[in-house]
């Protein structure tokens, strides 16, 4: 048996190079970017020393270079003057349909052609929430590049834990439009737990209560020796500080007897409502003085007591999710070490009080509820790009919603249950209904209810190319896989003949690949030349990644796991790839990588199996 090669402690085999990676908290109200610098995770400020970037984008028209925008504080100030073109809280519209977004919206939503994605009519044309978010991401990316310089390897972007597949996909699409390489989407409460857990190093069970501007999450995590294991998560992806603002706004509209206000007045009232909410977190009264048009000034006072009475039902609503998360985690409240408050809306004293009463413990509020998510994301990004090769930290997260299929009678059959650890793959077998049937339709939904109509439609799939057989003879195995980003992929195969069926995906909400491609082309940052250059560059990076990884693998395991013929074949494939990668032909490089993958698939499989076997034998050595 060959001896294992072990390098000297503290030294890695390859020269260490610090890669630039960032963590982004793409929030409903504010967004942040953070990075790890000299071992310290910190948020990055703009040139005015502001860390928060208001998630507000003002569209200012369009020229041949694309649309012109203003992002952040200035856009926020202009919101009431230019309400239709200034998009606030776009995150609430991510991955949503026209029916979902119409509630409370002060924008003019339309759909275009075959697209199911609602767009906002602005001076710069019809704009989707994905494009609005991509403008915010671009601004944060630029901020990071200005502050840090150099090449950006990638970003970890956070999403609410309770985001469904369409909302996650929309976030990833926005990153793509912004030209960001997404290392991973991670859940906001998990990111907060990383920041908190690594700070305190406290092992045990932690509850993260995250009430943001537009979303609510509760996650229960167990921290053991660097492993953050999410036991359960629950929440509401349409409940947050914005809803508190709406409640106050409704109160103002009623008290001031305003019917059907114009967009600019409504924006102004919403802003005042927010001001009142923030003030009432500190003081006992708030005095309104509002210009409601026609020379009329409305004056009134709101006491904290009355404010709390108004919002109490909303806060209590979060407890339903808390109860469910506790049950799914299968723990007693006594097992909980602490409850950590995250998100700007946890500044409201009533929130702290109600949560404290529910968990019978004083919630922890000493972390900056705005920054903690971005900081956790930056730490994870730093690890994922390999800046800390000896890092033992690992996040094991779950899927928040059950994944099901439509069966006869409009019922949903669950394939993957909520709070299953990801990645996860489950197969389901189907058969044909008629003789000679060659195609089949499958409807995938997310949600907990029995009726399809009560669940969220994710996509409809059409399987084609089933070999003709008598009814019931075909066995089509459909595999649903949720990856580490929480995103679903589906594949299908006819088992008796081994035929791979082709799948056509029609997402129920979200942009098609074609739409994204068009947006990329339309976008000012990517003229056609830029797109081609970028694609070539990405392919070359992928090629060098493959070559580097393979050479390391050959050094490590080539002699042990391969015959000399197999080694020669792989070496030759690598040489060919190196050669092709130097030329400027993206397509040729892509094909060559695929060829290399084919030649090395067996080797990769063997290596993975060996490392699985070694993982546990290493463990038993340690135990001795």
């Amino acid at each position: 048996m060959a001896l294992l090669q072990i390098s000297e402690p503290g030294k890695t085999t390859a020269p260490h190079q610090h890669k630039l990676a960032i963590g982004i908290d793409l929030g409903t109200t504010n967004s942040l970017v953070a990075t790890v610098k000299s071992g310290l995770a910190q948020t990055i400020a703009d040139e005015n020393d502001q860390h928060l970037l208001p998630s507000v984008v003002q569209f200012k028209g369009k020229n041949e270079q694309g649309y012109q925008t203003q992002v952040g504080f200035i856009a926020q100030q202009n919101a009431s003057k230019d309400p239709q073109n200034t998009i606030v809280s776009a995150k609430r519209y991510m991955g949503r349909g026209l029916d979902d977004v119409k509630k409370h919206a002060i924008y003019d939503f339309v759909t275009e052609g075959d697209s199911v994605v609602p767009r906002i009519r602005t001076i710069a044309g019809n704009i989707s929430a994905v494009e609005v978010s991509s403008e915010i991401l671009k601004a944060l990316k630029q901020r990071a590049l200005d502050a840090l310089g150099g090449d950006l390897t990638g970003a970890v972007i956070t999403v609410p834990a309770y985001f469904d597949d369409a909302q996650r996909q929309a976030t990833k699409d926005a990153a793509k439009l912004a030209g960001l390489n997404v290392l991973r989407l991670i859940n906001e409460p998990t990111a907060a737990a990383v920041a908190y857990g690594l700070d305190t190093g406290s092992e045990g069970i932690h509850v993260i209560y995250d009430l943001g501007g537009g979303t609510f999450d509760i996650s229960i995590l167990k921290l053991t020796r660097g492993i953050f294991e999410v036991l359960s998560t629950a929440g509401d992806s349409a409940l947050g500080g914005d809803d508190i603002d709406y409640i106050i706004t409704d109160w103002i509209l009623e008290e001031a007897q305003i019917n059907e206000p114009e967009a600019s007045l409504l924006r102004q009232i919403l802003d005042t409502a927010r001001e009142a909410k923030e003030a009432l977190s500190q003081q006992d009264h708030f005095a309104f003085s509002l210009d409601i048009g026609e020379g009329k000034i409305w004056e009134a006072e709101l006491s904290r007591e009355h404010f709390e009475k108004l919002i109490k039902p909303l806060i209590r609503k979060t407890l339903v999710s808390c109860r469910r998360a506790l049950r799914d985690a299968d723990i007693d409240s006594d097992d909980i070490q602490d409850v950590v408050m995250v998100g700007g809306s946890t500044r409201v004293p009533l929130v702290r009080q109600i949560v404290g009463e529910f968990f019978s413990t004083e919630p922890l509020v000493d972390l900056d509820p705005d920054k903690v998510v971005a900081i956790g994301a930056a730490r994870q990004a730093d690890i994922l790009v390999g800046n800390k090769s000896d890092e033992d930290m690992l996040l094991l997260d779950v899927t928040p919603l059950s994944l099901g299929l439509e069966t006869m009678g409009g019922l949903a059959e669950k394939v993957i249950h909520r709070n299953t650890t990801i990645p996860v793959a489950r197969a389901q077998d189907f058969t044909t209904f008629k003789d000679g049937q060659t195609a089949m339709a499958i409807h995938v939904v997310q949600g907990e209810r029995e009726l399809i109509s009560d669940c969220r439609s994710l996509a409809r799939f059409e399987l084609r190319g089933i070999p003709p057989m008598v009814a019931g003879a075909a066995r089509i195995r459909v595999t649903f896989q949720i990856d580490a980003d929480g995103l679903l992929a589906v594949s299908a195969r006819e088992e008796t003949s081994g035929v791979e069926s082709s799948i056509q995906v029609k997402p129920s909400y979200g942009l098609s690949d074609g739409e994204i491609e068009t947006m990329l082309k339309d976008s000012f940052s990517y003229a056609q030349d830029d797109i081609d250059a970028r694609k070539l560059r990405e392919e070359q990076v992928e090629a060098s990644r493959v070559v580097e990884a393979l050479n390391a693998a050959l050094d490590e395991d080539g002699d042990k796991l391969l015959s000399s013929d197999e080694r020669d074949e792989i070496r030759q494939a690598i040489d060919e790839l190196v050669e092709v990668a130097q030329e400027n032909n993206q397509r040729a490089i892509k094909l060559k990588i695929e060829a290399v993958d084919k030649v090395t698939a067996e080797f990769a499989q063997r290596r993975m199996d060996v490392s699985i076997n070694l993982a546990l034998s290493g463990q038993s050595v340690k135990d001795m």
Partner: protein, 192 residues
């Protein structure tokens, strides 16, 4: 009878470093699971090529499935049966009629809970009953599988397997009922 116990192929028990048994050492299970995920999780392959990234997602999913299977008594039982060459099918009707009658009664009680004065505590009574039944079934299964896996002579295997399968079918019913109780509890709690 097909028997997959001695094929030496990777099964969920061996991959997680445990002996094939109904009784599970949860501490070892969790520890081994963590060690394995530290090796195969996609986060450890964020810098690798596409091929290895895909492979790591598959392996990590497989190990997650192994953990879920061994952690859950029902799934563990079904898996043990499959290692003995017994697969459950969806339309298996070989269930004890007396048991079915009991189930129907429990279900009826459950559907009447909403109309009661104190539905939540009524529901608790049913849930306690269901949980007790589940516990009994688990104990029974534990006994059956330990006989099956320890005895060297395989004379009684067929009847033991048959009995185990019958218990697993009951357990499926009870688990579904438990889930319905919990859903009902959630619905009721939401109203307050």
């Amino acid at each position: 009878m097909k028997n997959n116990l001695d094929t030496g192929a990777d099964n969920y028990f061996s991959v997680l470093g445990l002996p094939i048994s109904f009784d599970i050492d949860k501490t070892t299970l969790t520890q081994n699971y963590h060690e394995l995920q530290k090796t195969v999780h996609p986060d450890k392959f964020a810098n690798a090529g596409d091929l290895e990234r895909r492979l790591s997602v598959q392996k990590a999913a497989w190990i997650n499935d192994a953990l879920e299977t061994l952690k859950n008594p029902l799934r563990r039982s079904i898996y043990l049966l499959s290692l003995h060459g017994i697969e459950l099918s969806d339309n298996d009707t070989s269930i004890d009629p007396a048991f079915l009658m009991e189930q129907m009664e429990l279900r009826e009680n459950l559907s009447e809970v909403v109309a009661k004065d104190d539905p939540l505590s009524e529901l608790d009574v049913i849930l306690d009953d269901v949980n007790a039944r589940i516990k009994r079934t688990i104990n029974h299964l534990g006994g059956l599988f330990s006989k099956l896996l320890s005895e060297s002579d395989s004379e009684n295997d067929d009847s033991l397997l048959k009995e185990a399968k019958a218990e697993v079918l009951k357990m499926q019913f009870l688990n579904r009922l438990q889930e319905e109780c919990l859903n009902k509890e959630e619905d009721l709690a939401d109203q307050f």
